[in-house]
């Protein structure tokens, strides 16, 4: 018995939104203030790592297409890698700051997976539209953590990164299975369904 895919998307949207709000809070108050309590430094990397672990059940239990499996597998691995790298840096286990590049790599690979996942153009159907929103948001948004890796105190880069994640959460919340409106942005996508 599997939950509907929309419920899974909403659950992940909640996790991603939590992640985004923590990032935003850190960007607003600054890392020095945010990390006065040591455990707070572990918060968002742990959530990112956990989201990666919880993506694996989606990969193996929703097997209605190969590309679906591969895309979710890449998201799972990239989230675990980026979360693990940040946890390693925060704990002092990793010394090399280049590990920070795992974050932009995660966004770039995830964005590419969204775009490759969806073969149709933007306005073909709602699902195509949302896939493109997510894909380009992540792909272009990868520039923010990339900039932050070299200018860690930059408010623009840190807040930009957080807002990209907020955008992804909003897009994930738009996944609905039972709904008639805006299901078809193009009549060439076939008759209205659901």
């Amino acid at each position: 018995m599997q939950p509907p895919s929309e419920h899974v998307h909403w659950l992940f949207a909640t996790g991603v939104l939590l992640l985004a709000l923590l990032l935003l809070a850190e960007a607003i108050v600054g890392s020095e203030v945010w990390r006065r309590r040591k455990w707070r430094a572990y918060l968002w990397p742990s959530i990112l790592f956990g989201l990666g672990v919880f993506m694996w059940p989606v990969m193996v239990l929703f097997t209605n297409s190969t590309i679906h499996m591969l895309a979710h597998s890449s998201w799972a691995q990239m989230m675990m890698l980026a979360g693990a790298a940040e946890l390693g840096l925060v704990s002092g286990k990793l010394k090399n700051e280049l590990w920070k590049l795992c974050l932009p790599a995660m966004l770039a690979v995830s964005g590419a997976a969204f775009l490759i996942h969806e073969a149709n153009p933007w306005f073909y159907a709602r699902s195509a539209f949302v896939h493109h929103i997510c894909g380009w948001l992540l792909l272009i948004g990868a520039l923010f953590p990339l900039g932050a890796a070299f200018k860690p105190r930059s408010l623009v880069y840190n807040a930009g990164y957080a807002l990209v994640i907020v955008g992804v959460a909003v897009a994930l919340y738009t996944s609905r299975d039972v709904a008639p409106v805006f299901g078809h942005l193009s009549p060439s996508a076939g008759v209205a369904h659901r």
């Binding site: 239990l61 679906h68 675990m80 159907a125 299975d177």
Partner: protein, 431 residues
Amino acid sequence: MRRALVVTLVVLAFPGAAWAHATLEQTSPKIGQRLAVTPGEVRLEFDQSVRALANGIQVYDAKGRLVSGAPHMPAGDSRAVTAPLRRLPRGGYTVRWATISNDGHVGRGVFTFGVRVAAPPIAEAYGASGPGTSEHVVRWLYFICLALLTGGLGFRLLVLRSEATPEAERRFYRVAGVGVIGALWVGTLAFLLRAEDALQLPFTAFLYGDLSPFAKATRFGQAFVVMELGFAVVSALVFLAWLTGRNALLWAAFLLSLGLGSGLSLSSHQSDDRSWLPSFADWVHLSAASLWIGGLLSLGLIVWNDRELRRKAFWRFSELAGPLVALVVAAGVYMTFERFPALDDLWSVAYGKLLLVKLALVCLALSWGAFHHFIVRPRLEKPFVARELPKSLAGEATVAVAILLLAAILVDSKPPAKPAPAPAQALAVRR
């Protein structure tokens, strides 16, 4: 700009269709069903509306003859596609389907059913060619990853114990990391290769192939689901152990990875619905071999550069290797008797010949191990022995890895068929 933003938010905020393309929810006949009479039609039901293709449902008998008519969509039901069937004689049948989802993607899939016989396994659907070289190589890589992971963890916990130097610790986490990530990747690849063979689709079409029947209706697929999930947890445990330095997490990862090996046993030839013993023997064989071969590889990869630690580790590993080899041999002998109904199958069928080659390599590895245990171990302090030991260990490990390759080919091959029960026995059972 503001207007574009508002339009985008409105489009996203209002409810719409699902993200995904159409998912096959139900079939008639059911996937893998054994029917007493010929079904009148094949019916596919999806979670959203679809369009039928001209060759959208094709049903083949075991000889590849098409037994279905042109597919059509029942009036008033845009989520279903049906195709009429001729009167089907007794036998196994393969259904290949393709439909266009409303998102424009062409979904494809395959399943089987039987008329008055059990349905053929999906991996043996009409058109599938069975495991080939690439599947042998992938399974071999899977065994190596398991050995690196389970053997590496066992080596760290049972051999190095609390004496691991920071350098050895760093090397151990690299070995275990490669093992667990490899197990996840190679496991996925093995599953996709098996599905691709049954689906018989070109690469771009395979990307939209429905893998659900493989994941849900085959032991191989069920093992894949459990093992992927399990190894994802193991990877998290190994990472957290590295982060926090807690050995308890390594023990949890070790025990879980040992248990996950049973997934291979439960989906192998040894899996027998009548008894748990063959599967258990297979799991013991696999686990002991993983610990032994993984330990050998770890001796080379983890403590290679540290002479003192290598000496201690070699001593302790020798003590552990004896019982492990005994388990490998005992379980292997039991499985050979179980798998070969007649002794001459060993040299008269391809499976038996492969097993003989594997046994020859096992004998070589055991002799090498005995040489290390009885000849080398008492002379470890001698400079010449200490200098040459790594090369000798590398040789033994190479033979062990070659054994894994043969094991991979054997697992993918079919053992000789067991003789049918005598009529008198069958009658007794029926009564």
